[in-house]
């Protein structure tokens, strides 16, 4: 495989190229989730009876998960700090903690969904639940993907390599957190 192009080493704007790439990725994700949540909000406004369906969401599970994600964003920040000072192993440890947060989030979500499905609330129950599972499911996929990539970056960081990527996965992780901050009130709390 060929070495890194000279192009990758340049920075005419002064902004690291990797960071530009992550911002591009996040912009595209914002419009995707924005479109989905915008559609949800339009529907919700036109269907006040959805409040009844939303009352059956597991608000405490959702709240706990919010706390989990916020904490994992914090450990991602600590990982970045460590990476900035060249401490690869420390950064890796914090990244692993963040991944632990992701795993916890997913575990809680599985329990939550199992409860809801066993109560008869599936994706086809009504359109509120269709949006609920689609939005939370899409978010969950992003959590999984992010955790996997984070794992690769943590391995590299442990070996002291590509430390600049710790910041990048951190930015992505904050975004995943932010989407959840929007999802939680819209899906769980709004009446």
């Amino acid at each position: 495989m060929s070495a890194k192009p000279i192009a990758t080493t340049r920075s005419a704007t002064g902004i690291p190229t990797g960071r530009l790439a992550v911002w591009w990725l996040l912009a595209s994700e914002v419009v995707i989730f924005g479109g989905l949540l915008g559609s949800y909000i339009m529907h919700r406004v036109g269907h006040p009876e959805w409040a009844e369906a939303a009352a059956h969401t597991q608000v405490w599970f959702g709240a706990f998960n919010t706390l989990v994600l916020l904490t994992s964003s914090f450990t991602a920040v600590l990982a970045h700090q460590a990476a900035e000072s060249g401490q690869g192993k420390k950064a890796a440890k914090f990244l692993v903690m963040t991944m632990g947060g992701a795993l916890t989030f997913l575990l809680v979500k599985s329990i939550e969904w199992t409860i809801e499905i066993s109560h008869g609330y599936t994706i086809t129950t009504n359109t509120f639940w269709s949006f609920y599972y689609t939005a939370a499911g899409l978010h969950g996929l992003h959590v999984i993907a992010g955790a996997i990539i984070m794992g690769f970056i943590a391995v590299d960081a442990w070996r002291g390599r590509e430390l600049q990527r710790v910041e990048l996965i951190g930015i992505y992780w904050h975004f995943v957190d932010l989407v959840w901050i929007f999802l939680f009130p819209l899906l769980y709390i709004a009446k």
Binding site: S2, P5, T13, A21, S28, G35, S130
Partner: protein, 571 residues
């Protein structure tokens, strides 16, 4: 200790190892932007043949309804719907976008900014692989039980959501997956275009020294990225309606069919600018080279393009004037739609003004670029009829719309492509194309093109609606004078398709036996012309990467003897 040795090994290899994989692996596994661009180009050209074949079949059905079409057979109503659906989808997503944006973007951007590759070559490779899979999916969808999706490229639910309505359930889901994968491919590709243009420029290349085609491709990528998100969300919802039985678009389940329309057209309208911008960029660069002129207003072109791009997010519901949206909303969109004609008109005026004072050589690429302007003008002005909501009440869903968008899409996808191919062929393949054959191909394409679509304008004005496989069912449209127009359009298409053989012959013959191309056959200023034809892996020797001293359009300077001044020549 081991790490230090590894470091040394890497350093040695970074200096010496400057070649990609060899042999067959080169094509499967290369990360070289030029190889990837060829992959996109040839896939796009293949898909153009598929899409063109579909047009041939359905136009034969329209001219000779009920007759067996040579090479296809009798066209059933269901097959007709599949043909028009996939013709549109393939031409936009698998021809226009991959050729104009991915092929030429990939080839030109690193070369024109003096870089040795894109900044993320592996993501670049991944984008093609995803794209290739999407092409396989859409082609595969044509052969499954029930046939290819038949709900039009716009895929409005409830028709597109339930197999019992569209009778192509498998085709419908595969179509959706194919389109979604294509979107992912272009989002991935976009990462490279914007970061490479922003960061990997040669030393000395300021923002306003960037050739217009590079700007256009990057702005197009941005427009694409910002507009496609809601449609991706909408596509996920449609996929769930199709496969899981959700009711996002089903009124019986509390859903709304019109929601899809908004999500689709919020993307659909910027999408036409996504494909238009690269074609205009190509035209601009070719006009500058062959008129030997600095652009009349580089910054003006850039600003009107950005203005058009921004405005394009606010016009989408002009596709939905009579679809049941609040009629008061229609007025808002009508105003924005008519206003967007202003920056576009300005852009066209500025391009035309660049010809003033020029020394115009009518080589084949220039013929294509000029034809783009002349034909696109027709497309542009006929759009006004549709943007005026009162007139659109009549014109919506008629052949007038169809002729309008072919007068924009054809210049964009076909004329723009031939302009770019004939211009950059020497650089891409190291050989010169025959200019004589090029001119024959040019006239054999442009003249029939007008004979296809002007009759369709007339039919549209006469009230003929779209996506109908046999107009003999409509007494007001079944007359001989109408049918004559349909036959003229079909015969013109056959002539035009025949002349494409001239292009393929020229292309292949030039590849195999063409005259060897010099570095800079057109005496152009931009950086791609300073390296070998074709450029080696890495584009320039690592110690001879270009530096830039001026803008890309310093043609005709009175203080110099030569009428051009390459960007990399020291002052």
């Amino acid at each position: 200790m081991v790490e230090a040795t590894v470091e040394v090994w890497h350093a040695q290899h970074e200096v010496h190892e400057h070649h990609g994989p060899q042999g067959v692996l080169k094509y499967l596994w290369s990360t070289d932007h030029k190889v990837i661009s060829m992959q996109y180009l040839f896939t796009g050209m293949f898909m153009a043949v598929v899409g063109g074949f579909m047009a041939y079949v359905f136009r034969m059905q329209l001219a000779f309804p009920g007759s067996s079409v040579p090479g296809f057979g009798i066209v059933s109503p269901g097959e007709y719907n599949s043909l028009v659906t996939n013709h549109g989808s393939i031409m936009i997503f698998w021809v226009a976008m991959p050729v104009l944006i991915a092929a030429f973007g990939n080839f030109l951007i690193p070369l024109m900014i003096g870089a040795d590759d894109m900044v993320f070559p592996r993501i670049n490779r991944l984008s093609f692989q995803v794209f290739f899979i999407s092409a396989l999916v859409i082609l595969g969808s044509l052969f499954v039980e029930g046939g290819g999706f038949g709900g039009a490229w716009t895929a409005y639910p409830p028709l597109s959501a339930k197999g019992v309505y569209n009778q192509t359930p498998l085709g419908a889901t595969l179509w959706l997956i194919g389109v979604a994968l294509e979107f992912v491919a272009f989002l991935l590709g976009g990462i490279n275009f914007i970061t490479t243009l922003m960061n990997a420029r040669a030393p000395g290349m300021k923002a306003y020294d960037i050739p217009m085609v590079c700007w256009m491709i990057v702005i197009a990528s941005i427009l694409f990225m910002l507009s496609v998100g809601p449609l991706i969300a909408g596509a996920v919802m449609l996929l769930f309606d199709q496969t899981l039985g959700t009711g996002f678009y089903d009124p019986a389940m509390g859903g709304d069919p019109v929601l899809w329309q908004h999500l689709f057209w919020f993307f659909g309208h910027p999408e036409v600018y996504v494909v238009m911008l690269p074609a205009i960029g190509i035209t601009i660069d070719i006009v500058a080279t062959f008129a030997r002129k600095k652009l009349f207003g580089y910054k003006l072109m850039l600003y009107t393009t950005v203005a058009t791009g921004v405005l394009s997010f606010f016009v989408w519901a002009h596709h939905q004037f009579i679809s049941g949206i609040d009629p008061r909303m229609a007025n808002v969109f009508m105003v924005t739609t008519l206003l967007i004609s202003v920056p576009i008109a300005e852009l066209m005026f500025v391009i035309i003004a660049t010809l003033y004072g020029g020394s115009i050589r009518l080589a084949t690429p220039m013929l294509w670029a000029l034809a783009f302007i002349a034909e696109f003008l027709i497309g542009g002005v006929t759009g006004i009829f549709l943007g005026a909501s009162g007139a659109d009440i009549y014109f919506h869903d008629t052949y007038f719309v169809l002729a309008h968008f072919h007068y924009t899409f054809f210049p964009i996808a076909i004329i723009g492509t031939f302009a770019a191919l004939t211009y950059w062929f020497p650089k891409m393949f190291g050989k010169m194309m025959s200019d004589k054959l090029g001119k024959i191909h040019f006239w054999g394409t442009i003249i029939p093109f007008n004979f296809i679509f002007i009759p369709l304008f007339v039919l549209g004005m006469g009230g003929q609606h779209r996506r109908i496989y046999n107009y003999q069912h409509f007494p007001d449209l079944a007359g001989a004078d109408f049918q004559r127009l349909r036959i003229i359009a079909t015969v013109a298409l056959l002539v035009m398709l025949a002349f494409q053989l001239v292009f393929f012959y020229n292309f292949i013959r030039s590849l195999l036996r063409g005259e060897k191309a010099p570095k800079n056959p057109w005496n152009a200023n931009t950086l791609e012309w300073t390296t070998e034809s074709p450029p080696p892996h890495g584009n320039w020797p690592p110690d001879q990467m270009p530096k830039v001293y001026r803008g890309p359009y310093e043609y005709g300077r009175p203080d110099r003897e030569s009428d051009f001044w390459p960007q990399d020549e020291p002052a």
